[in-house]
């Protein structure tokens, strides 16, 4: 019997690299039409939920005489500070003009507060404020000295003040905050405050005895005009300690031994309520005297704040963020299914054998799959988020809601960050599905991990929301957080107001940790298990 010569193929051998594997996995993906359609469904859900969950009504507040004031399709003007950020600038001001350099010194002997009942956007009516339900001090009520360019809202300023819970502070241009002496003001333990102007520089000092003075800080207000407004101010923000209740408050402070060194020396004081904004803040009714003077002692009552705007209080800027969060959460559902099927359909039909016969280096196969599912979900989520964001902003603006200015860089981070969130989530689910080899278990686990926390946390009365946003993979939605957050503004920095407990990339790292565990387990198993 003769045997033919061993076979020699004349076909050129192809390349055998990782790129070929990625290409093969992409070919697998794009040649199953249902999978490509699923990506489309994910994109549609993302845009659809952004539209559905963005508030379609404007913000209404209860104004004077309990009449509701609703924002109209034209967005109400929000004062803007020197840095371009939206600010609150409402306070009672006992002022006089000052030309050139000078200084003002005062002794603050008391600061009391009254909090109205009321909740949310509906600030309590005047009567409730005047007949307070309780007299807890609002932590960031403020009483002290201020030098401001003008009484127009948003004007550059520097101020030194006492607060109920944060001691003496120097604050300027809305966002800057420096701590001075700690402690609370009482009649037996007053605080002395001094504000001095030299050119563009305003320096603040505090003292317990009017003898020993400590410099708190200095603010350089470039371009300050020669004539400024100087005087005493009192203001008291909404009480936002709770997550759902916010109530108007009135603070009253007593000042003594006021001493102005400057020009003109003998002009009189005049009281003015600066920038009452009925859209957002409790308005002091006219016809009452909020400024009292006797024997060199001044008693000033005020409500409002001099601070940067944050979401969740007077402004409902959270709408966009919650829209994007719902958009992302529900867009993840088809992505979870897709990432699962990308591997379990192979196990189910034993196609995984063909795959691993073609590429026996299993770790590379799984990595190629991860690259493909990560890339297609990244691109889809980026495009859908860009559209969802535009839709959300459009709905909010058209309904008269205020939108916080969004810097281009932050906008790019929201879009690319959501894309990365989807990619990493898909890779984690791919890993989980590889370990389980069954669709049902992987999809169910994915939904429990990504959707359930959202549903639980979306209930504003849930105290678990903050906790869930830290320990579950949806912590990564912090990449969508764009709202400003200031330590010197007390507010419910909660999920429902559009805030995340972690910064964008810390939250993203939580998801990455989950995905790394799942994908690592998959890499370990796939290389050790018979198929």
């Amino acid at each position: 019997m003769t045997t033919p010569a061993p076979y020699r193929s004349e076909q050129p051998v192809g390349r055998d690299g990782f790129a070929q594997l990625v290409r093969a996995e992409f070919t697998k993906f794009r040649t199953v039409r249902a999978w490509v359609l699923t990506l489309g469904v994910a994109a549609l859900l993302m845009v659809g939920f952004a539209w559905l969950t963005s508030p379609h009504v404007g913000v209404c507040v209860v104004g004077p005489e309990s009449r509701p004031i609703c924002s109209t399709p034209s967005v109400p003007p929000v004062p803007v500070g020197p840095g371009g950020e939206p600010v609150v600038d409402t306070f009672s001001f006992l002022r006089k003009p000052m030309i050139g350099n000078g200084s003002l010194t005062v002794e603050v002997t008391s600061l009391t507060d009254a909090v109205a009942s009321g909740n949310g956007n509906n600030l309590g009516p005047v009567d409730q404020v005047l007949n307070p339900t309780h007299t807890d001090l609002v932590p960031w009520a403020k009483a002290g000295l201020i030098i401001t360019q003008s009484t127009v809202q948003g004007a550059p300023y520097a101020a030194v003040m006492v607060t109920p819970s944060h001691g003496v502070r120097m604050q300027y241009d809305y966002t800057d905050d420096v701590a001075g002496l700690p402690g609370t003001v009482t009649r037996s333990s007053p605080r002395w405050l001094r504000l001095r102007r030299v050119g563009d520089v305003i320096t603040s000092y505090d003292s317990l005895d009017a003898t020993h003075w400590t410099k708190i800080g200095a603010a350089n207000l470039a371009g300050l005009p020669r004539t400024v407004q100087i005087g005493l101010f009192v203001t008291s923000p909404e009480d936002n300690a709770g997550t759902t209740d916010s109530s108007a408050s009135l603070a009253t402070a007593t000042f003594g031994r006021v001493r102005l060194v400057g020009d003109p020396p003998n002009s009189g004081w005049s009281g003015q309520v600066v920038g009452p904004n009925p859209e957002s803040y409790f308005t002091l009714p006219t016809g009452r005297n909020w400024f009292k003077q006797s024997d060199g002692t001044f008693t000033v009552t005020g409500s409002g704040d001099i601070a940067p705007q944050v979401s969740g209080g007077a402004l409902q800027g959270a709408g966009e963020t919650t829209g994007l969060l719902a958009s992302g959460t529900f867009g993840l559902v088809p992505v979870i299914v897709l990432a699962t099927l990308f591997i379990t359909s192979e196990y189910r039909r034993r196609l995984i054998r063909t795959t691993l016969i073609a590429s026996p280096r299993r770790g590379r196969v799984l990595t190629a799959k991860a690259v493909v599912i990560g890339a297609v979900t990244f691109v889809t989520a980026c495009i859908a988020t860009a559209i969802a964001e535009a839709v959300s902003r459009h709905v909010l603006t058209a309904n008269g809601n205020y939108l916080f200015p969004l810097r281009t860089l932050a906008e790019i981070r929201v879009i690319l960050g959501t894309g990365l969130l989807f990619a990493v989530a898909a890779i984690g689910i791919l890993g989980l599905a590889t370990v389980l080899r069954r669709s049902a278990g992987a999809v169910a686990t994915g939904i429990v991990l990504f959707v359930l926390p959202f549903i639980i946390g979306a209930n504003p009365s849930s105290s678990a929301a903050d906790w869930l946003m830290r320990v579950t993979p949806i912590a990564a939605f912090a990449v969508q957080g764009t709202l400003p957050h200031f330590a010197q503004v007390s507010d419910a920095y909660t999920w429902s107001n559009g805030y995340y407990p972690f910064g964008p990339w810390v939250g993203f790292a939580v998801l990455c940790a989950y995905a790394a565990v799942a994908f690592g387990a998959a890499m370990w198993w796939i290389q050790r298990r018979d198929v």
């Binding site: 033919p4 010569a5 076979y7 192809g14 070919t27 039909r349 034993r350 691993l356 073609a358």
Partner: protein, 310 residues
């Protein structure tokens, strides 16, 4: 280097079940090696071990001198068909081959070539989920040929083929061997391998029963037997049996006689005046040779397995 598969001392357990119990054999180029054994004998497990899908507890399986997992362009070394049903139902036949080709860096025109070789051009763009088992087998064979490998491993490729398809497949396997390729084909039906295989590896319950050429197996099974055709079947059987022969009736007027030389049979029948029309040295079928080998090895013997048609 010669393209071969070398298996030495493979052992594998699945829990308490011993699937492979020290299997060793070699698949040589230029011939079709039939890999035969009853269902559950360990054929598929052996093939999965060769292809690196299952890890053996002991022993080694080398392809071209290397473990499969170490091959750089695996589909250019070994083409395999384990399970014709391993297809995504909504992916077209051509796209199934396309991703395989991409994984090896092979061009799309190679896909069209193997589709043509397997006679699937007409259905290339149809969803594989709608294919009959025969069409899937052809698609599986096309996939095995994609890398133009010198070694082919086919697990039960005749399953689901119609008679025409079986004839086509046999000729196709022979032509692959004639080109110098090493072809390992498993089957639980020896008859399917008739006219296709020239070498046989027979296993049962995870053990190697025979590693022999087809010619040797048939010769061994035929040894010392005589075929007899007579109209007086029962009288002839009585006469021959009383003379010390073992008689097996094979038909209404045929029987196989062993233990007596043909001359002695003719003499005994003539003495008893019994008519006969044929006395010849018996040539066993492949089936008979196989049945003899596996008589004690069948694990799941369906009723009527002995009645397998030729």
């Amino acid at each position: 280097m010669e393209a071969t598969i070398e298996i030495s001392g493979l052992r594998k357990r699945f829990g308490p079940t011993v699937a492979l119990d020290g299997i060793s054999f070699r698949v040589a180029p230029g011939q079709v090696t039939g890999f035969v054994g009853p269902n559950g004998a360990g054929k598929s497990t052996t093939m999965r071990v060769i292809l690196g899908l299952d890890a053996a507890d002991e022993g080694a399986a080398l392809v071209d001198g290397q473990p499969y997992a170490a091959l750089r362009h695996p589909l250019s070394h070994v083409g395999s068909l384990l399970d014709a049903g391993a297809l995504h139902p909504t992916r077209s036949a051509r796209n199934h081959l396309l991703w395989l080709a991409h994984s090896q860096g092979l061009p799309a025109r190679r896909v069209d070539q193997v589709l043509e070789d397997a006679g699937l051009q007409a259905v290339a763009r149809r969803k594989a989920g709608g294919f009959s088992l025969g069409m899937r087998q052809r698609l599986g064979i096309a996939a095995a040929l994609l890398g133009d490998p010198a070694i082919l491993i086919l697990d039960e490729p005749f399953n689901g083929l119609d008679p025409d398809g079986i004839v086509w497949a046999r000729g196709f396997l022979r032509s692959l061997a004639v080109q110098g390729r090493a072809v390992l084909v498993s089957s639980h039906l020896m008859s399917e391998l008739q006219d296709a295989a020239t070498h046989l590896v027979v296993i049962g319950r995870g053990r190697l029963l025979a590693d022999t050429s087809v010619a040797e197996l048939i010769a061994a099974a035929s040894d010392g037997r005589v075929s007899l055709r007579t109209t007086a079947r029962s009288q002839a059987a009585t006469v021959l049996a009383s003379a010390g022969a073992t008689v097996a009736v094979t038909g209404s007027d045929t029987m196989t006689v062993s233990g007596l030389a043909p001359e002695r049979i003719v003499a005994l029948l003539t003495e008893s005046a019994l008519p006969f029309s044929e006395v010849s040295a018996h040539r066993a079928t492949l089936e008979e040779g196989y049945m003899e080998l596996t008589r004690d090895q069948v694990e799941y013997r369906p009723t009527g397995l002995g009645e397998l048609e030729r």
